[in-house]
């Protein structure tokens, strides 16, 4: 469970405070997948990073119980001079996975990303789509209670789209998805309820369609 407890978050832009959240209290229940909608720059990614415990609110507290994934996005913390294999090993190590478990993860990602010989080549030669494949596969190889997904589903060619949405639906049975996307179709596929983020407030819509309607009329 992730609880936002009277959270205020702002950025200082030229002495003005740009509010992302203003005194928000909300409880993200486990088991209910949430789609976050909003304009560009409304602070969707920032909200996602705060839920992941990476950024901290200016006022208030965020309580996180259970394991939360890193924000799965196209750009990841991969070192360009290392190969995908070495980067994955690194991530395994920082999550305390060694030996057979690490080997299982590497095999899974290699099969999932399906980038052939590139898997053992330094990542600077990768296209952004290939990086996204590796990052998405890597996040699917771990078991998190919460997945934070930032615009990564629905990239790549049709076969990968199919594969990723299959993997995603399988994960859905045990984990909760919190997802930022401008692609309404992917949200419909995955999410149960919708949040529309604007002017430092979050509007929660129990019916996702309603949130999408508001989003499409406003943006």
């Amino acid at each position: 469970m992730i609880i936002l407890d009277n959270v205020t978050k702002f950025y200082r832009v030229r002495n003005f405070r740009h509010y992302v959240l203003r005194e928000v209290t909300y409880q993200f229940k486990s088991g209910i997948s949430i789609g976050i909608l909003g304009k560009n720059g409304a602070g969707k990614s920032t909200l996602l990073r705060m839920l992941g415990g990476i950024e901290h609110p200016n006022i208030g507290k965020i309580h996180i119980t259970g394991s939360v994934s890193w924000p799965v996005a196209l750009t990841a913390g991969f070192l360009p001079t290392l190969s995908a294999r070495d980067n994955i090993k690194f991530v395994c190590r920082i999550y305390g996975k060694t030996g057979l478990e690490a080997k299982r993860i590497i095999d899974y990602v290699r099969e999932f990303a399906d980038i052939g010989e590139h898997f053992d080549v330094p990542m600077r030669s990768y296209s952004s789509g290939m990086k996204g494949r590796v990052n998405f596969g890597l996040s699917m190889a771990f078991d998190f209670d919460y997945y934070l997904v930032d615009e990564v589903i629905g990239v790549g060619d049709p076969s990968f789209k199919k594969k990723s949405s299959d993997a995603f639906n399988e994960k859905r049975t045990n984990s909760t998805m919190i997802m930022v996307s401008h692609n309404v179709e992917t949200l419909r596929d995955t999410c149960d309820i919708g949040i529309y983020l604007h002017d430092g407030k979050i509007d929660v819509y129990e019916d996702l369609e309603e949130a999408i309607k508001i989003y499409q009329s406003q943006c």
């Binding site: 088991g31 990476i54 070495d86 305390g96």
Partner: protein, 456 residues
């Protein structure tokens, strides 16, 4: 030469839902079976790699089957032969029997549906449907175990759809009363929350290990020459300085032979100046902060530890080389040596933290700081000893803690007493000040490292 296997040698038969295949080979035959493929038309349904003469497939569908047998003949060429086509008559299992074999359970806000016991009683699972009042959720999946998170209490209806042997879709229906337990925020005591936010020591160890390994790969793993270069850089600098000193006609400085004298100055300096790398550490590792457990301090610490390891290896091998050429190397004061190394480590770590914050806010300063490090090379006694300096200027140079550390390291290699000007008290005070300054600067700013550049 033995004759090739023909379809007369391959006999196929079926009983219940098993297809058995038998290959007849002559006594003197030298063929070896490689694989059996189960086919429907030309589509491969299942592959078995085996060299046995018999093999059986479990089938779950009423359709025509044939088997392709791959084998190698005595010359090693790949050959294949098809069996006759058969169409087994499978009798569909009754819905009631399947219902008895599916277990539906309930555990911690989850409905668990397990169909693994009746895997062979039908062709495949199509979907699971969970219905509460007028709300329904359909999960298309062919997995045999599924866990479904419920959001409300109530009488759930679970419908499992499967395809039977004939390809007809059948539905099995279950009823289940499930209770949703609200986990309210009040039930979570603050203590358990703290435990989660605290990193266990074990995790810190894992992270440091991962980082040191990664830094090594990044810096040195692009060919053997890079490993070699760990030694080449210091060796060239050391060689040049020794050469110049020898040209000047010096053979010992404060009782130390020239190579050892330079070595004890150069390596502490190069280790110390590695703190300069921390200027770009925030911008360079920002993407890594996406992993929640990684903090910038882990990166700084692992950088310093790695530099320490490299410096120690180079220093020890330098000392061994000196010893090999017959120079007198005796550690007279090991405690002083160890203490100086610890102080140097803490000082470098503290400075690294200071510089990481400075580099984050004032990226343009990094050039000035590089110049400062260069100046330190001339001021820190890398190629002179404090004893050589006129007495009225010594007090100014002694402000420099690095000079004091280098002198302490040097004087642990000679038998006579330390110069009175050096002071452990000053050194430790100075180091602790820088370390605590670095620590506080880091802790004040640590949450800002992740903030977008646009909102700095």
């Amino acid at each position: 030469m033995t004759k090739l296997i023909t379809d007369h040698d391959v006999s196929i038969s079926n009983s219940n839902n098993e297809i058995t295949l038998h290959v007849e080979l002559g006594n003197d035959s030298k063929h070896t079976i490689v694989a059996y493929y189960l086919l429907h038309g030309n589509a491969v349904i299942e592959k078995i790699f085996s060299s046995a003469l018999e093999c059986s497939f479990i089938i779950r569908r009423n359709q025509s089957y044939r088997v392709k047998v791959f084998y190698k003949d005595e010359c090693g060429n790949n050959q294949a032969v098809f069996s006759k086509t058969i169409k087994p008559e499978l009798i569909c299992t009754s819905i009631d029997e399947i219902k008895n074999n599916i277990t539906i359970g309930f555990d911690k806000n989850k409905i668990i549906c397990d169909t693994s016991k009746c895997n062979n009683l039908f062709y495949r699972i199509k979907s699971y449907e969970f219905i509460l009042d007028d709300y329904n959720d359909k999960i298309e999946s062919n997995h045999s175990i599924i866990k479904y998170n419920i959001k409300k209490s109530g009488d759930y209806k679970v419908i499992v759809a499967y395809e039977d042997y004939n390809g007809v879709i059948q539905f099995v229906e279950f009823k289940l009363h499930a209770i949703y337990e609200e986990i309210s925020s009040h039930l979570i005591d603050s203590k358990s929350l703290e435990n989660i936010s605290e990193k266990s020591l074990r995790l810190i160890f894992y992270i440091l290990y991962a980082f040191i390994f990664r830094e090594f790969q990044r810096k040195y793993d692009s060919g053997y020459f890079r490993y070699f270069s760990i030694f080449v850089g210091p060796a060239v600098r050391l060689g040049l300085l020794v050469f110049i000193f020898t040209l000047m006609g010096r053979h010992t400085v404060v009782g130390l032979s020239i190579p050892l004298f330079i070595l004890t100055g150069l390596l502490p300096y190069s280790f110390f100046s590695s703190a300069g790398n921390c200027l770009t550490i925030v911008s360079g590792n920002k993407a890594l902060l996406n992993y929640r457990q990684i903090k910038i301090i882990d990166v700084i610490l692992s950088n310093v530890i790695m530099e320490l390891l490299v410096s120690c290896v180079v220093f020890c091998s330098g000392v061994l080389v000196c010893k090999y050429f017959g120079l007198n190397v005796i550690i007279y004061n090991p405690l002083s040596l160890i203490l100086s190394c610890i102080v140097l480590f803490v000082l470098t770590f503290g400075l690294g933290m200071v510089l990481s914050v400075i580099g984050f806010y004032f990226a343009e300063f990094s050039y000035a700081i590089q110049v400062l490090f260069r100046a330190l090379f001339y001021l820190s006694g890398v190629f002179f000893s404090i004893e050589n300096i006129p007495i009225q200027y010594q007090r100014y140079l002694l402000w420099n803690p690095l000079l004091q550390i280098i002198e302490f390291i040097r004087f642990s290699f000679v038998s006579f007493d330390l110069p009175r000007e050096l002071s452990y008290t000053y050194l430790i005070k100075c180091t602790l000040t820088i370390f605590l300054l670095g620590l506080s600067m880091y802790f004040v700013n640590r949450n800002k490292f992740m903030i977008n550049d646009r909102a700095r």
